[in-house]
């Protein structure tokens, strides 16, 4: 059996778990939505009639929180690979909590925007910020639900070193959402 595994052998067609692959395709669609929105931002900005204001400081805090949350989830994943159930659950709950905190920080950023007299309704330069944060927040909620499902599974002992597919998908998605936020944050810092 072993000796047939030579290099010149045609590869089996089934190379990646279709579900994971589908998740990546879903991520592509989300990327395209935000690519469209941020391009729209640049196009609109270049046309003038653009209100300048200072970005909320809460964005920095939320960025730190989301990075920590990603780290926590990854730590939990390593624990799961070693069948360390305590680490698995602790990491999951920690990242869920941090995820919720992130949403709180985003809410505070809206409060700060309002303090600056920047409202959702008004000059598009402000409206865009609300759309970026709001739409990203909506995706983040879906990510939190995903983590919650994994926690549920973990407590029913369905996540362990030999059953990681769903956790790996959750991890991919969560890292993606974090990276997406960092992209948006840096984008807003550069272009405003």
């Amino acid at each position: 059996m072993e000796n047939t595994m030579q290099l010149d052998q045609p590869k089996p067609t089934l190379s990646m778990n279709p579900k994971k692959f589908a998740l990546w395709l879903f991520i592509v669609t989300v990327v395209m939505v935000f690519a469209a929105l941020t391009s729209a931002y640049i196009v609109k900005q270049s046309e003038g009639n653009w209100l300048d204001f200072e970005l909320p400081s809460a964005f920095f805090i939320s960025s730190v929180i989301i990075v920590l949350s990603s780290i926590a989830l990854h730590w939990s994943y390593y624990a799961a690979r070693k069948d360390n159930l305590f680490g698995l659950k602790a990491g999951l709950i920690l990242s869920l909590t941090l995820g919720l905190l992130f949403l709180v920080a985003q809410y505070i950023s809206w409060v700060q925007l309002v303090e600056r007299n920047v409202y959702f309704v008004g000059n598009p330069s402000g409206s865009f910020i609300y759309v970026f944060t709001g739409l990203h927040g909506a995706h983040l909620v879906s990510g939190l639900i995903f983590i919650f499902v994994i926690i549920y599974k973990a407590f029913r002992l369905k996540i362990h070193s030999r059953s990681l597919t769903s956790f790996e998908m959750c991890l991919t998605y969560w890292h993606f959402l974090g990276a997406l936020w960092l992209y948006l944050y840096i984008f807003m810092m550069i272009n405003h």
């Binding site: 190379s15 692959f21 989300v30 000059n123 598009p124």
Partner: protein, 618 residues
């Protein structure tokens, strides 16, 4: 490993799950049934969209006609004077476009054939996720219901054109259709986008992950290549439409100003500041142009398959076909601004987009040449499907040529938004894709329903439609060159255009006749479904895998093991071969009489392929 393979092979699964009516025909996860659901829904929409066009053609061709007799259907949209309400005219044009582009030629075409053909032609038991596939159909269904409801509301359906440009679509004061009708349009399209993305994710994942052993990308039928690339284009462009629609929703319902700048309506200033309607156009056409290829590519893929089969010749330039489709897929994302030459676009940008637009004509031309050279000296069998495929090539040429005129920014100043554009895209997109759809139905009907369609009726249907389409759309070029704008309620109010009155009457009569010819198809379709001649296993002597399944394949498609693939799908009329076709699952070792020298070398590789595990995908 060989032993595991035989083990799997011996173990024949029972694929018929116990189904009741609901799980078998309604909430089914079988890709073949889902495909039929898409097809039937698409046909339903094609009838609605077609009838709408007849109503506005009556208005354009017979401006003095009394339309009282339509009052039972259209109610208050027929005015007291017996005329079509001008605002409803706009609504009809808008809904006709939306329905035809999205519901018929996207969902009805890709939805039907991607679902039906991908698993059958790549050798898979079903889609990567049957559940998501089912969801895709039901999202489309919900989207359809909402759009349908919007036809009957008090203020009328959306009426800002299928492209729903703001400010027209953003301000309810602008036109009555921009009220509730537009809201329903947006909700419906959101479901539609979700449906398309769910479907697309599935198609891509299935083609990449679930090919049977031996089915490498270089042995894929061109239909699958086309459907695959269509799904990729959709995956990249529909999210952008979603973004555009989302901002439009905010403008309409929350009072933001993404697309609205300082506007006065009836002397009163609106509160909006700082928005840009051109921004919407950029976002829309970033979807809109790829969308026209989403509509066309599946039709081209179907055509490749049928033309090769019925010419009994290998497709000419298999690799060139793939490369040009890849080229079209990439280029389709960088030409969108050719729809905006007169939007105040920077002329320098206009020149860049003009260049890119003319470049996309190159892969399109390559495909046309390959079709013609495949036909050249073939043993052509004129089945109805073949006729419709050839018709597609004809429309693709005549409509593509006018694209080259439109692609020149300077010429487009005269032609933009005239009937010339209408003629262009109805030939190259509307009719060509519609013919692809028809060709596909005629060709795969035996596999879908296990029976044959009537050929004679097929011929009559083809000739009437083919001639009819040219009679309808060819004259529009003249009207357009003369400068008559599209989406205008009436020709007769302008002296300059009065001379076209007869031509318009002629077009309208041709349109009614062409629509009438479709009734022949409808009869043939539904009659043959129950009463048609029973189909043989491989009615067209075709090479692809779907014809190796039973006459009425169950859920799971193959009763035994999924066939293994050894060769490309176009071994037709191979010199030396016993028959004029060698299906993909026949190994080279079984055909020594027709093998070319390099194919004899492949016999060694076949053993390697057979060592691969049979992936039974359960």
């Amino acid at each position: 490993m060989a032993s595991t393979a035989t083990l799997h092979g011996a173990d024949v699964h029972e694929h018929e799950h116990k189904d009741n009516f609901i799980t078998k025909y309604v909430f089914t996860t079988d890709h073949k049934t889902i495909a039929k659901q898409f097809l039937i829904t698409g046909i339903f929409w094609a009838i609605i969209g077609g009838l709408m066009s007849l109503i506005f053609r009556l208005q354009l061709g017979f401006p003095d006609m009394q339309l009282d007799w339509l009052r039972p259907f259209l109610g208050k949209w027929i005015t007291d004077a017996g005329k079509l309400d001008p605002e409803f005219y706009l609504a009809l044009v808008t809904m006709h476009g939306t329905i035809m582009v999205f519901f018929v030629l996207t969902a009805g075409l890709s939805g039907t054939f991607a679902n039906f053909l991908i698993p059958l032609q790549i050798g898979a038991r079903d889609m990567a996720s049957g559940f998501m596939n089912m969801l895709s159909y039901w999202f489309f269904f919900v989207s359809s219901v909402i759009m349908f409801v919007s036809l009957f509301i008090e203020t009328g359906p959306a009426s800002g054109g299928w492209v729903v440009y703001p400010p027209l679509s953003a301000l309810p004061q602008a036109v009555s259709g921009s009220g509730l009708g537009m809201t329903l349009w947006l909700v419906s399209m959101t479901f539609f986008i979700a449906s398309t993305l769910l479907g697309g994710i599935n198609y891509i994942a299935t083609v990449i992950n679930l090919r049977t052993r031996g089915m490498s990308f270089s042995k894929l039928p061109l239909t699958i290549w086309a459907l695959f690339l269509t799904a990729v284009i959709g995956l990249l462009s529909f999210p952008v439409l979603f973004a555009a629609a989302l901002l439009l929703v905010f403008d309409r319902s929350f009072g933001t100003s993404f697309y609205l700048s300082e506007i006065y309506i009836a002397g009163e200033a609106l509160p909006n500041i700082g928005g840009s309607p051109v921004l919407y156009q950029h976002l829309f056409w970033f979807l809109g142009h790829p969308e026209v290829y989403i509509v066309l590519l599946p039709a081209l893929g179907i055509t490749s398959e049928i033309i090769a089969t019925q010419s009994r010749k290998p497709i000419f330039g298999y690799k060139a076909m793939i490369i040009s489709m890849l080229g079209i897929a990439v280029l389709s994302f960088v030409v969108w601004a050719h729809h905006m030459f007169v939007s105040g676009l920077n002329p320098f940008l206009g020149s860049v987009f003009m260049l890119l637009t003319l470049v996309i004509a190159v892969p399109s031309a390559v495909k046309v040449f390959n079709y013609l050279t495949t036909l050249w000296k073939g043993n052509i069998i004129f089945t109805p499907a073949m006729l419709f495929s050839i018709g597609l090539v004809s429309f693709f040429i005549s409509g593509g040529l006018t694209g080259i005129f439109l692609g020149n920014a300077a010429i487009d100043i005269q032609l933009h938004d005239t009937y010339f554009v209408v003629a262009h895209f109805h030939l190259v997109m509307g009719s060509a894709s519609f013919f692809g759809l028809m060709a596909g139905v005629y060709h795969w009907f035996p596999k879908m329903f296990g029976r044959m369609m009537d050929e004679k009726l097929g011929y009559i249907h083809f000739w009437l439609t083919f001639v009819g389409v040219y009679l309808v759309f060819f004259p529009m070029h003249y009207i357009g060159i003369a400068g008559f704008p599209r989406r205008y309620y009436s020709f007769t109010s302008f002296d300059a255009f009065n001379i076209f009155a007869d031509l318009n009457t002629f077009v309208s009569i041709a349109a009614i006749a062409t629509f009438g010819a479709q009734l022949i198809f409808l009869f043939n379709f539904f009659y043959s479904m129950y009463r048609g001649r029973l189909a043989p296993a491989n009615p067209w002597n075709s090479n692809t895998l779907e014809w190796t399944t039973p006459r009425n394949p169950g859920h799971g498609n193959w009763e035994g093991e999924i066939p293994t693939v050894y060769r490309w799908p176009y071994d037709y009329s191979k010199p030396g071969a016993r028959e004029d076709f060698i299906p993909q699952h026949i190994p080279y070792s079984a055909t020594p009489e027709s093998n070319l020298p390099h194919e004899n070398e492949k016999i060694e590789e076949e053993k390697e392929i057979e060592k691969l595990p049979v992936d039974d995908q359960h």
